[in-house]
């Protein structure tokens, strides 16, 4: 128990440091790129036609963009300490509210896509792991390679073409009802399942080769009992770690899929903010993503602690 608390504290500390570093890098990167922040913000706010030098100067003065970069940065840090991420330069909305709104949609998509991928990958991976090298495993391996190689937007476009445009079963893009969630979740889920089914198959095949698994059969247990009692739990540890990494990646926002389906998630928000040089939103999103990684890592660690008693009892986690 003491170890798990220590592990959580270490992850939290690491995560906060990483989040701050990433947010700082975001600030530096935006300011290093060529162009004028005040001009880009003015264009994003009022469109190119309504932007003139006076408007740009007004924005520069109002938003404090005329102050030295170091001062802008430290002002931001001082605000972050009081949990204030500032306002968007473009929409003037609170960054916290903006992130919460977009994160809700990202979370919805990530959770559904992960569920879809697990529902596909679990039976598929177990089947391949139980009969490694068999016809199902060989064919699956080829299908997975093909699915991993196909870019997500191609899968997305094919699904839109077939399910939305031809069959009129599901809406094309946006988010107005749960039906809008189906195609983006399947698009992401298929790609994820292709990889995680291989992870499940390999992990299970490794466990099946272990002496304790064969010893289970020697005890007289049925193949199904050996699989459920000794196979699943041992094979789950690397699989959960991998699915955790996938989930963390999804929570970052999946720019391609969010853009393709006009999904109002974090990825799309970040892309729009980068194009408009909306620095407070970029920094806020970087902080959020860093903290999400920590949360996912801690969750995965706790599950692995629960599943792997040797790690729980003896080893310190890395």
């Amino acid at each position: 128990m003491e170890q798990i608390v220590r592990s959580i504290c270490r992850h939290l500390f690491q995560g906060i440091c990483v989040a701050l570093i990433v947010a700082t890098l975001g600030f530096v990167a935006v300011n290093l790129t060529r162009g004028d922040t005040a001009l880009d913000v003015a264009i994003a706010r009022y469109s190119e036609d309504l932007t003139d030098a006076a408007v740009v100067e007004q924005i520069r003065r109002e938003e404090g963009l005329d102050r030295p970069l170091a001062m802008q940065y430290f002002q931001w840090v001082a605000r972050v300490i009081t949990f204030d991420l500032g306002r968007s330069l473009v929409s003037r909305e609170q960054v916290t509210g903006l992130l919460a709104h977009h994160f809700y949609y990202t979370f919805l998509l990530a959770a559904t896509a992960t569920t879809v991928s697990i529902l596909i990958a679990l039976p598929w991976g177990i089947l391949c792991g139980v009969y490694p090298g068999g016809i199902v495993d060989t064919v699956s391996s080829m299908i997975c390679s093909a699915l991993v190689s196909v870019p997500q937007f191609v899968i997305g476009l094919l699904l839109i073409l077939s399910l939305s445009i031809k069959l009129h079963w599901l809406p094309v893009a946006g988010f107005f009802s749960p039906a809008h969630l189906v195609i983006p979740a399947i698009t992401l889920g298929i790609g994820l399942a292709a990889v995680s089914s291989r992870v499940i198959a390999t992990s299970l095949a490794d466990v099946r080769g272990a002496l304790f698994y064969r010893f289970g059969a020697m005890k007289g247990l049925s193949p199904f009992k050996v699989l459920t009692a000794h196979g699943m739990r041992n094979a789950a540890i690397p699989v959960i770690t991998y699915i955790g990494v996938q989930a963390a990646h999804l929570l970052d926002g999946v720019v391609v899929v969010e853009t393709l389906f006009a999904w109002p998630g974090i990825g799309k928000l970040l892309l729009d903010s980068v194009l408009a040089r909306d620095i407070p939103v970029i920094q806020g999103a970087c902080l959020l993503i860093g903290l999400l990684y920590v949360t996912v890592n801690i969750t995965v660690d706790m599950i692995c602690f629960a599943l792997d008693p040797c790690r729980r009892n003896y080893q310190t986690t890395s």
Binding site: G220, D308, P309
Partner: protein, 276 residues
């Protein structure tokens, strides 16, 4: 005269890849309720004989000859038919206790699952069934039983494996190198516990390089060298009046007899000629 439980006749094992016969024409029989010890140096083929009996030879090896268990020829059985015998009739006690136990399961559950799923006892009866086995092996059901394999010493893990061999209904137990890597004290108690298995009515086929194990288990034994049995008979007879020069060499090479190396000429005379 006790009944024959296992009769191995002219067993040969061929390696398809290496085109060799690591075991050639091995014959012996094991009497019910007794021990039979196969002794030989590393590479003599004794573990392959044990694997052939248990039906888990690796894919590139094939067995010829007969292995009759209670009159059924195990060589002719399919994998699925052999699997049906595991735990119920046949049981292999592995030589690596470290990797034979599931690292994610409490040891008590690893013994209890045999009672629950192989013997079909109700959950409420499990404690009552496990208690005598654990106390027989000087293990505390409430303390040692609740631990995971990584929390146990090597000797304790071996005792858990013995607990499993007492739990399974199988009457015929193949024991592979029971004293490998054990210090003198642990070795003595491991052999003593194997004798206990005999007292409980189990039949043992013990594979070892340790002549002392054969002496303590009694019954019959065979000495293997280079894939063949060079001498067999009752343990007393073979160990007290060995006829074959290799057996005499093996007895002389034992630590208690001064570890005198076996005469090179004896080994050279028995070596299988290399096939061109």
């Amino acid at each position: 005269m006790s009944a024959t439980m296992l009769r191995v006749s002219k067993l040969s094992i061929r390696s398809v890849i290496k085109r060799k016969q690591p075991v050639r024409g091995v014959s012996f029989s094991v009497q019910k309720g007794k021990a039979f010890t196969l002794v030989g140096e590393t590479g003599s083929g004794k573990t392959l004989v044990a694997q052939a009996v248990c039906g888990n030879l690796s894919g590139e090896l094939t067995a010829d000859g007969k292995i009759e268990y209670k009159g059924v020829d195990l060589v002719r059985l399919s994998r699925r038919e052999k699997r049906r015998l595991y735990g119920k009739e046949l049981f292999l006690l592995p030589q690596e206790p470290d990797s034979a136990l599931d690292p994610t399961m409490r040891v008590i559950s690893q013994v209890a699952e045999v009672f629950r799923y192989v013997r079909g006892y109700a959950v409420k009866d499990l404690h009552h069934r496990l208690a005598p086995i654990f106390s027989d092996l000087d293990l505390s059901l409430s303390e040692a039983g609740r631990l995971y394999p990584c929390q146990l010493s090597g000797g304790m893990k071996q005792r858990i494996l013995l607990a499993i061999s007492l739990a399974v209904p199988a009457g015929f137990i193949v024991v592979d190198e029971p004293t490998k890597g054990l210090d003198k004290l642990s070795r003595t108690s491991a052999v003593h516990r194997l004798s206990n298995l005999l007292e409980k009515g189990k039949t043992l086929l013990c594979i070892t390089h340790d002549l002392g194990v054969a002496r303590e288990l009694g019954g019959h034994m065979a000495v293997m060298y280079d894939g063949c049995i060079v001498e067999s008979g009752s343990v007393n007879h073979v160990l007290n009046s060995p006829r074959h020069p290799y057996t005499r060499g093996l007895i002389g090479a034992a630590p208690e007899n001064g570890m005198i190396p076996i005469d090179e000429e004896v080994l050279a005379a028995m070596k299988q000629p290399e096939k061109k």
